[in-house]
Amino acid sequence: MRGVFPFAAGLAIMLAAGWVGFPHAIYKSRPQPVDFSHKVHADKAGQKCEDCHAFRPDGTFAGIPTLDKCAGCHAAPMGTTPAEKNFVDQYVTPVREPQWAAYASQPDNVFFSHIAHVKRGQIQCETCHGNHGSTDHLQPFQQDRISGYSRNIWQVSERVKTTRPSMTMAGCIDCHHEKGLEHSCLDCHK
């Protein structure tokens, strides 16, 4: 028994470190500049995803909207929440662009076309982004200290508690296989 104890101790400690400690150590967390509520904008303002996350006329995806899009409505606070007041005071009034952190940023060597997936593939936003569009708060941006990419590429957020495919290469390939699409390396790594 005594002979097994050191081995078991090492095993247990490393299991704890790997499963509990490592996720905390590997990621550094920072809050988003504004505690934005998708739920309020979807429910009360009646907005859909594409109202803010639109395609430009040339087909490129605009991504996270810029300040002028928000300032169109929020030139002055429209509600009573501290988050909105903070947004107007810190960003709208001084015309300062919020430095949003994109949860779904892909590595630089990846070419991803939103329009091909949305318009041609008829894929809903929720398919890849989960119910992010109905959240009341923005989760902190957790960045991998080594690779620099978001934790959200890898797995479902624990807060959201929903399922969506990961946005790693394996996740993309799995979805393409399910839909019977085969591609070459150059289609995504131009």
């Binding site: 050191p6 081995f7 090492g10 247990a12 490393m14 299991l15 790997g18 630089d108 080594i146």
Partner: protein, 576 residues
Amino acid sequence: MTSTRRDLIKFGGGAAVGALLTPAPWRLVTDTALWSETWPGVPRVARGEIRARYTNCSLCPAGCPVRARCLGDQPVALFGVADHPFSHGTLCPFGLAGHHLPYHPQRLKQGPVEQAKAAVAEAIARCGAEERIAILDLRPGRTASWTYRRAAKQWKSGTYLAPHRILGGDAAVNLAAAKNVISVGAPLFDGWGTPGNVIAARDKFRLIQIEATESRTASLADTWVPVQPGDELQTARKFAQDLAAQGPTLVLDAGERSEILALNQTTGALGTAIVSRREAPVPDSWNQAAPESQLDALPDRSIRVLLIDESAAGSYIPWSRIEKKLVADNPVVVVFGSSADGYGRHAGFVLPTAVYPEAVDDIPPAVDSPVAMFRLSTSLVAAPAGLVNPAQFIAGFAGIDAANSLRERADAIHKAGRGNLFTYADAKSTPLKDVKADDFWKALNDGASWADEAPVRPAAPILALVASTANATEDDLPLAVLMAEAQPTPGSPILTKLYQESNLRLAANRIALHPSAAKSCGIADGGRAMLQTRCGKLEVQVTLDEGLPPGVVRVPAVPCTLDLCGTSPRAKVVRI
């Protein structure tokens, strides 16, 4: 309880097993791989404003218009220009990957510029009475070509040399006017002319492709006539006699052999499918320029200084034909190019030049353009420091200021006041007489092309045919050499990797043999061999191709094999 070393080892073992059962090591491997993608020196994807910039592709004389999708200043994708009246929006695979070329691992970025200047100056100074200073321009018809001719005129014994061409200079092809096209190996659908123009004219002519193998063009022709090498003239003559009565019948030859192109004189092609083409206007002061000469017309051992502009891909003259014209004692040979794979292998000095799409140059009209054209290949990417502009380098030795020669040429064209300007951004065609000179120059730099007026009645040109020379008997060389299609060099690294790995085009060190020919040499597929001709030998790798006729070896049209086989149409292959 004391811990022993054994306990420590057991603890470590447990920790190691535990680590493997956690996501940590696997995530660390993946994250390290991702992290390595951002190391210094790894190319970073451009981020920035997305915009379109326009230029013309200078990889071949087709000069297809190009729309570049740029992120900031970095071109990331190239496309054709839709609605262009000549190219019809097409761009070949080489053009589509042209933006890779500045990053080619074999491109030259440095060279012995000052040493070359000193050597040339010294050689010019001691040039003997019977000796020449020669400039070999592989792509004549450009504005730089006029600079070379002007420079040659300034020297007492200056000579301007260009590859001999029957079609593509003063005589051009109007494909749309041909009822039939008899092509002796000319790669009509694989790099011969302007892709968009050939495709647009396709429905107007019947194509008879005469060649030994079923090339890509042969597979798309109306009729493929397989022949043994050596029987092409006889076969072409028979078809020409039969088809001439149906309408203008154009005869083309991959090797521009005079005896084959001479058939156009009897098929009604002259004045219809082959027309006389005037050159784009030049400033009056430029007309004091040396004429174009041919290498074979020079006496042997007469060139003291040879300056070769290889910066723009064009016809390659086998080195053996050039070497015998050089003086025996220490000729000075300077090559201007972006790689050392061409004449750089034989030169004393190789000076690096800009590549497309770095270089600013004009593109002469293609062989299938019945009218003169003027278009610029403008710079989409900044060229690295240390490169040489061949025209300005050579002009410096002749006391000519060539820095603004393109603007001067544009002004001369504008002054002539004829033709139309097609601007790419808005796809508009405007008569040149309605455009101001400054606007014309700006439009050319922003992406446009000028096309001359077509004559009301096209003139029949006089073809510059030359007498053919009989080859010496080569009974000891059993294989006839078939040259594959020419390809622009350098090519995009990923494009060349793809097609060479698939053998769609022969790699530079590969040859193709019929299995029976390979078996008689004792060579298996992929085996190493020596390709030998009268001009030398080259180590190659053999690919078996049942589509080849026996008795034939197919070689790539790259400088090392063109040197070997360009003047020696027969070869033998010996297993190593």
